[in-house]
């Protein structure tokens, strides 16, 4: 039987606010345990939550970017359950009336195909703390610094049909939240993580199969592997006549498998109800319109514009718009040169390679956009060849100055003086009488040999096009 995999993702994006969603404690990552947990975050008796305006603005920004409805009235609810990293015994979340709902985004898959993925809803909620499982005499330690960090939970429709689609969608959300500057996207630190709802069904069947929820996937690779493992597990069960149990499972990256979460075995009854400590969140149409007007150019629009404006292939445009910083760098370089494709090749090639090797972001590149443009201009005006340019770039990267300084200091300027090149050609022809004779006898391929010899004799600095012209002329005499 052929099986179809059905996937929906619930992505948790930690919002980049300075303070927590309901308290004035800092959200900075990596502080000493419980030093950023104030009375509200600790759920002390008598304290009350007050909503962070910026968290709301960020949710609105996400909503307008994903063609979603922004609820004029949304409601915070309590999700009640006991867990040591949940200080109040309930999580403040949004349940029946989320702030963002009914949107979509188009994901471009590897093969260039476009796939529309529905955004069911995106709601604001508070993050929980962390249980540390190092052994404290057989006990666990609880750190509540993360408790109360604002989260936007982005719930997709079950529109994804493979692990690769799921990863492409996750990557787009990752890119988008960074474009919108609402989440730092740091998956290692847990700033962006997701749960995957996975089920399988025979191809052609309309109804969904029973789904399992895989919790806390915090890398693209884990998402792909967990989904593939889980889908296969379910298919194996069904093919051997069994049935899938609806449950919550945990992905174990060490063993590359999913297993049921023991703590969630007990059927949960979250007893949602509107939080009486918080009032309905009312959002003015004017606020939404302002957010819409202030949206930055979004990844897909930028990609399309790059293709069009710079004549780039869609794939290249995609690479160059991966982040706002890369795109801005590229545009800055492109504005300083005549050929935007030359700029694209360099940003995607030598620059990306060097950054990758150094593990640096484009913002930290030792060669800034103006400097790179300065180098490319010297290729375009014939001062140096593309090959010499690579050498110049390396020197610039190492901090040896601008392109012109490196070219000047090292005497890399291309030789364009006709008489000088002619002199070298004369010498080469004189030194290689045998090859000259063979060439004249019709062995055309030796033309390349002579070019090579001339370039070698000039240390690569002769202008290759000029060498070709002059050599052809000399040989035909």
């Amino acid at each position: 039987m052929k099986w179809e995999i059905v996937i929906g993702l619930e992505i948790h994006a930690q919002l980049k606010t300075a303070s927590k969603i309901f308290s004035g404690a800092s959200t900075a990552f990596g502080a000493e345990p419980n030093t950023q947990a104030c009375l509200v975050d600790l759920g002390y008796p008598g304290v009350l939550p007050v909503l962070n305006r910026e968290a709301v603005n960020m949710a609105i920004r996400f909503g307008v970017a994903t063609h979603s409805e922004i609820a004029e009235r949304s409601v915070f609810a309590r999700k009640n359950y006991f867990y040591p990293d949940l200080p109040k015994g309930y999580q403040i979340s949004q349940y029946e009336l989320p702030v963002v709902h009914d949107g979509w985004i188009d994901v471009v898959l590897d093969d260039g195909e476009r796939k529309r993925v529905g955004i069911t809803r995106a709601h604001l909620e508070e993050d929980a703390g962390k249980s540390l499982h190092e052994d404290f005499h057989g006990l666990s330690g609880i750190d509540l610094n993360r408790a109360g960090t604002p989260l936007l939970e982005i719930v997709s429709e079950p529109d994804l049909r493979s692990a690769r689609e799921a990863v492409a969608y996750m990557k787009l959300i990752h890119q988008l939240v960074r474009y919108l500057d609402i989440c730092d996207g740091n998956m290692q630190e847990g700033s962006l993580r997701c749960d995957a709802n996975i089920s399988v069904r025979p191809v052609g069947r309309h109804e969904f199969g029973t789904r399992a929820e895989i919790k806390n996937l915090n890398s693209f690779r884990f998402i792909e592997r967990a989904i593939n493992y889980e889908a296969e597990r379910q298919i194996d069960i069904l093919e051997s006549g069994g049935s899938v149990v609806q449950e919550t499972r945990l992905y174990d990256s060490g063993k590359d498998e999913t297993r049921p979460m023991r703590s969630k075995e007990e059927a949960n009854d979250y007893r949602y109800f509107p939080d009486p400590d918080l009032l309905p969140l009312m959002i003015d149409a004017a606020v939404v319109e302002t957010a819409r007007a202030e949206l930055p150019e979004l990844p897909w629009a930028k990609r399309a514009r790059f293709s069009e404006q710079y004549g780039l292939a869609d794939y290249d445009a995609g690479v160059l718009t991966a982040s706002r910083a890369v795109a801005a760098y590229y545009e800055s370089v492109a504005s300083g040169v005549q050929d935007p494709k030359l700029a694209a090749n360099w940003v995607m090639g030598d620059l990306a390679g060097a950054l990758n090797k150094a593990g640096a972001d484009v913002e930290d590149s030792p060669v800034d956009a103006d400097a790179l443009a300065g180098l490319l201009a010297r290729i375009e005006d014939g001062t140096i060849s593309g090959k010499i340019a690579k050498e110049v770039f390396e020197a610039m990267w190492a901090g040896h100055g601008s392109a012109d300084e490196v070219i000047g200091d090292r005497g890399l300027r291309q030789i364009t003086d006709t008489s000088a090149i002619m002199e070298v050609i004369g010498q080469v022809l004189a030194d290689n009488p045998g090859q000259l004779e063979q060439f004249r006898a019709g062995k055309d391929k030796l033309f390349g040999f002579f070019v090579g010899q001339v370039m070698k004799a000039t240390g690569g600095k002769a202008n290759p096009a000029q060498v070709n012209d002059l050599l052809r002329k000399a040989l035909s005499e």
Partner: protein, 485 residues
């Protein structure tokens, strides 16, 4: 000195008749001597009180005294007090030292008031008789075998016996007004949102409101002015200007329309209490008010609606008591579940557990719509009843409680019988209205309270009527005799 009202004591301090230290020492002496009979205090903060009194005296000497500077007050032990135990009447918080002040406490402190201590209360404010306290029942100074009402029973008994000139309280379903009625004191429950709930340990967040128990409406006006106002730490606190309540107390009631709720005068109302209320209505007429009948047709549903909404909210509010960050923690837990269950099972008393379980049940899957949502709709009906009534009258008057104080232990067997004590007060909380109970006579030698209810944010009018009533009567000046005199 203790027979004087807060306002009178304030005048005496201003006139230099006595110092705050002397005044504070006087009340501390009374507490020491008499509280063993009443059990009105859980914690007495004597040394800190004297220190604060001396500081107040210095402020006065420096010419920086306000109307409340140097006046003593007791706080219900539901308000967090920085550096002092805040028990909420529960074993759960017997060892809890609050690291912060509730907004109410902070405001009264910065107005110069001197805290004498923390008063006894029903555990987590769940009760109408003060019998559910971990610290034992409070006794009514009018008759030590009777309850003082609850949940602010300690505050009410302490003010009635003049162990303090005034006290704070909280009112979720009548917890200020009912004990005020049962102890012959003046109990004010402001509009929901008028006074900050920050630092007030939550019972039912959409119903809880802080208020005062005092010897007079004038005292309540003085305190409310200092307590009320917007608090950025409480999302449900209202950002509206605070009136100068004391300035409007003497306004005439000529042409004022008072509504008497038909449904309040049912077979449940004790005849002698009803008679006292009728007499009180005559006093209002004599002050120029017209009295007409109004109806709150859904009143009977207020108690069942309340006993869905309040337990639901409390079941969630009390989940934070888990033995991990503060409060009672069971010894040697076997595992995590055991830590939770025994810490909570041993830390909470029976009534609190009943309410948590009721609330858990009505919110659980399959019952939410039938109970919680339904109760919220009924709540709307009750609020609409009041809206309709206030279209016809300026104020509603009636009894505060169906009977005078009852015997300790008389109603502890059946929770529902106890719940019905609040039949006249609960609707006010559901609708978020302000209400006050003022002494209006006696039944079987026990105080009877007249309840006055106003529209949202009309505390000024409410206190005006209560004050005018107290200018014509002297029930509020009566004090329990014998050792408390």
């Amino acid at each position: 000195m203790h027979t004087r009202t807060l306002a009178e004591l304030g005048d005496a301090l201003a006139a230099g008749e006595m110092s705050s230290e002397e005044l504070t020492r006087h009340f501390l002496t009374r507490i020491e001597a008499l509280d063993p009979r009443l059990n009105a205090f859980i914690t007495v903060t004597g040394e800190a009180a004297l220190e604060a009194a001396r500081a107040a005296d210095r402020e006065r000497a420096a010419g920086r005294a306000g109307p409340l500077t140097g006046l003593p007050i007791a706080h219900k032990d539901i308000f967090c007090t920085d550096g002092f135990r805040t028990s909420c009447g529960s074993r759960m918080l017997d060892n809890f030292i609050s690291p912060y002040d509730a907004t109410v406490v902070r405001r009264l402190k910065s107005a110069g008031m001197v805290m004498l201590g923390k008063t006894n209360m029903d555990e987590f404010a769940m009760g109408s008789s003060n019998e559910t306290s971990f610290y034992g029942p409070v006794r009514n100074p009018w008759d030590l075998d009777k309850v003082p009402g609850g949940s602010s029973g300690g505050s009410a008994a302490a003010v009635a016996a003049r162990l303090t000139p005034a006290a704070t309280g909280t009112d979720t379903g009548g917890s200020i007004r009912q004990p005020a009625a049962l102890t012959g004191t003046t109990g004010l429950k402001p509009t929901y949102g008028r006074v900050s709930r920050y630092g007030m340990i939550a019972f039912a967040s959409s119903l809880d409101q802080a208020g005062t128990i005092t010897a007079s409406a004038c005292d309540a006006a003085l305190l409310l002015e200092a307590m009320a106002g917007h608090d950025p730490r409480d999302s449900t606190s209202v950002d509206a200007p605070v009136e100068r309540y004391a300035d409007g107390l003497d306004r005439s009631l000529e042409g004022f329309r008072v509504g008497v709720v038909e449904e309040f005068f049912d077979e449940g109302l004790y005849p002698a209490s009803a008679a006292a209320i009728e007499t009180a209505l005559d006093v209002l007429r004599s002050l120029g008010a017209s009295v007409k009948r109004v109806s709150l047709p859904n009143l009977a549903l207020s108690v069942p609606a309340y006993y869905v909404v309040a337990p639901a909210e409390c079941s969630s509010n009390l989940s934070r008591f888990d033995g991990i960050r503060f409060g009672y923690r069971a010894e040697n837990p076997r595992d995590l579940a055991d830590l939770y269950k025994r810490s909570r099972g041993e830390g909470f008393g029976a009534e609190v557990k009943r309410r948590i379980m009721t609330g858990t049940y009505v919110l659980s899957a399959g019952y939410y719509d039938a109970y919680y949502l339904k109760a919220q709709r009924v709540r709307q009906l009750i609020a609409e009843d009041f809206r309709a009534a206030f279209a016809e009258v300026d104020l509603i008057a009636g009894p505060t409680a169906p009977t005078p104080a009852f015997d300790i232990g008389a109603k502890t067997d059946d929770p529902v019988t106890m719940y019905l004590n609040d039949i006249y007060t609960i609707g006010v909380n559901l609708a978020g209205l302000p209400g006050v109970s003022v002494p209006c006579g006696f039944a079987d030698d026990l105080p009877v309270g007249l309840q006055l209810i106003a529209n949202h944010f009309e505390e000024g009018r409410l206190l005006n009527v209560a004050h005018m009533f107290q200018q014509e009567t002297e029930w509020h000046l009566r004090m329990p005799g014998g050792e408390f005199a």
